[in-house]
Symmetry: C2
Subunit: 324 residues, 2 copies
């Protein structure tokens, strides 16, 4: 089968590889589409903590079961089900987690073998390329769930890339009011249609919104300065959701932590998503397909993936989706 | 009336002052007992952000209404009731908060005038000196509520002073399992009877407990090193409650914040308490009077308060309670 394999850092090549042979509890999926993620681009550029090489990348997968012909998206986690986080319902924090496209081969290939328990049925009316967005959208739903976002709350989202915009879509689905800040004018311009479709306020500068403080702030961008600014923009008793890791070796003063104490703020970490959240994401996508379609830059061939990953690293891309 | 007034930093003197004249919505309370708090000691030593001088200190008050003879403890906050935190039920975060013993005269006096809405009836069987503990105990209940502590969770509490021990009592009342670390051997020894009464595990060193990780960690001590150590001791998905402000000008690296992100931890600030939490604290004290009594160093006269505040600053005291 055709597959795109990362042999080593910076070495991503098209290969002819054998069709995977599913073991007990596994299913062979004929991949229809697999979306490109910023993490794929970073793995190409510099590797990643959980990446085991060589590896077929791709973890935002939609396809059909070879056995039954049913259409599925794939929860990329493979959790043990018995460790403490798993038993508490946080399978995304499984202490023995293996991830499709990281530890095992992923969806930039004609076929992928995955755990049967990782399959989530796609609603009939939802097209494959949009279904691929279920995984990143579910991660944003997890963030809002960690931040305990509720109806009518105001959410300031730093970062208007595809993930920040999906965060806004997730907020809308919770009947909260998102505000998206994107400092890059090109990227900001590119999100206009999406924002228009959902009636989302956006700005190049976080200080030009009608609200000056917010119930929840989320970082959907890694800039370390978002943390102090975001804490400043919270209402007393509000929550800052750490959705993105912070880059660089910035140090934060104890006075910033004391603000969390005195103003009774919450800081909520969020990482990955659960199957329940992916199912929820599929219903959100199915309800808002026109808006979701605005996030797609293009449906591309496997051989165009390396160039598209470079475009993602360059900073102005939304979502590219590989068609197998 | 006899009163203890802080005229200026380091100048705490017994005065003969006029009995306060309650205005509309206010009630005159004949003070029975008023407990000493570490904050009182700090105000004497160095002032405090909310302190307006000159001031009669004391905010852990139990007394009787001059008008009706009913026995009350006093919620020291005076909230506006209409600002956003107030309308969300977080009156402790009121944006126009005035605090008895900080902005208005407090309970180190024979009489105090307070807002009628700040009064909470004391259960009949609860003695006055124990009722004074309702306010600090309520602050610990607020912390555990912010940390979303639930039944059967394990709680690591850094600091075995009176507040850390009340935190453990609050955890017990929630059917959680507290573990108390107190590095000072004298203070640790002094808490033995209290810990014995409630069956609470304590240690001089946080690494000698049978659990190595915990659902919730709370800082009931201001040492800045508790933050990284506490994060290290959390289960993935756990919560660190910032109950105490952090002293000094320590800086924390972005990598510590990234641990919150990757391990989906929560950091929950807690400050003060609400009336609801004080009522809850009264029921906890009423259920566990023998244990609560172990926290009391002595019932003292007003003129002994300055020396007792010095003992609190020296570091080995539990609770002193002034009898009026």
């Amino acid at each position: 089968m055709r597959s795109l394999q990362l042999k080593a850092i910076q070495q991503l090549r098209l290969f002819e590889s054998p069709i995977p042979d599913p073991g007990p509890g596994e299913v062979l999926i004929k991949v229809s589409h697999c979306a490109l993620c910023r993490t794929d681009a970073k793995m190409l550029q510099q590797g990643q903590r959980d990446l085991v090489l060589p590896r077929i990348l791709g973890h935002e997968i939609c396809g059909t079961s070879v056995e039954t012909g049913e259409r599925f998206v794939v929860w990329p986690g493979q959790s043990c089900g018995v460790c403490p986080p798993c038993t508490r319902g946080w399978e995304n924090l499984c202490s023995r987690m293996k991830i499709v496209g990281f530890h095992t081969d992923g969806g930039f290939a004609e076929y992928v073998k995955v755990s049967k328990s990782s399959l989530l049925k796609v609603p009939e009316s939802l097209p494959d390329p949009l279904a691929c967005l279920a995984e990143p959208l579910a991660c944003t739903l997890n963030a809002l769930e960690q931040g305990r976002v509720s109806k009518d709350q105001t959410i300031l989202i730093y970062g208007g890339g595809p993930v920040g915009l999906m965060m806004a879509m997730a907020a809308k689905s919770l009947e909260a009011t998102p505000f998206v800040v994107e400092q890059n004018p090109v990227k900001f311009q590119r999100s206009e249609k999406f924002r228009g479709a959902l009636g989302i306020e956006g700005a190049l500068d976080g200080y030009s919104f009608r609200s000056s403080t917010f119930d929840v702030v989320v970082n959907a961008a890694p800039s370390p300065g978002i943390l102090p600014e975001g804490i400043h923009r919270l209402k007393d008793g509000g929550c800052l959701c750490l959705f993105s890791g912070l880059t660089g070796d910035t140090a934060y003063p104890a006075s910033l932590l004391n603000e969390i104490h005195y103003r009774q703020l919450h800081l909520a970490g969020a990482y990955g998503c659960t199957r329940r959240q992916m199912e929820w994401a599929l219903t959100v996508l199915n309800a808002l397909p026109e808006a979701a379609a605005c996030l797609i830059d293009g449906i591309i061939d496997l051989e165009e993936v390396p160039a598209a990953l470079e475009a993602i690293l360059a900073g102005n891309a939304m979502k590219f989706i590989a068609k197998l």
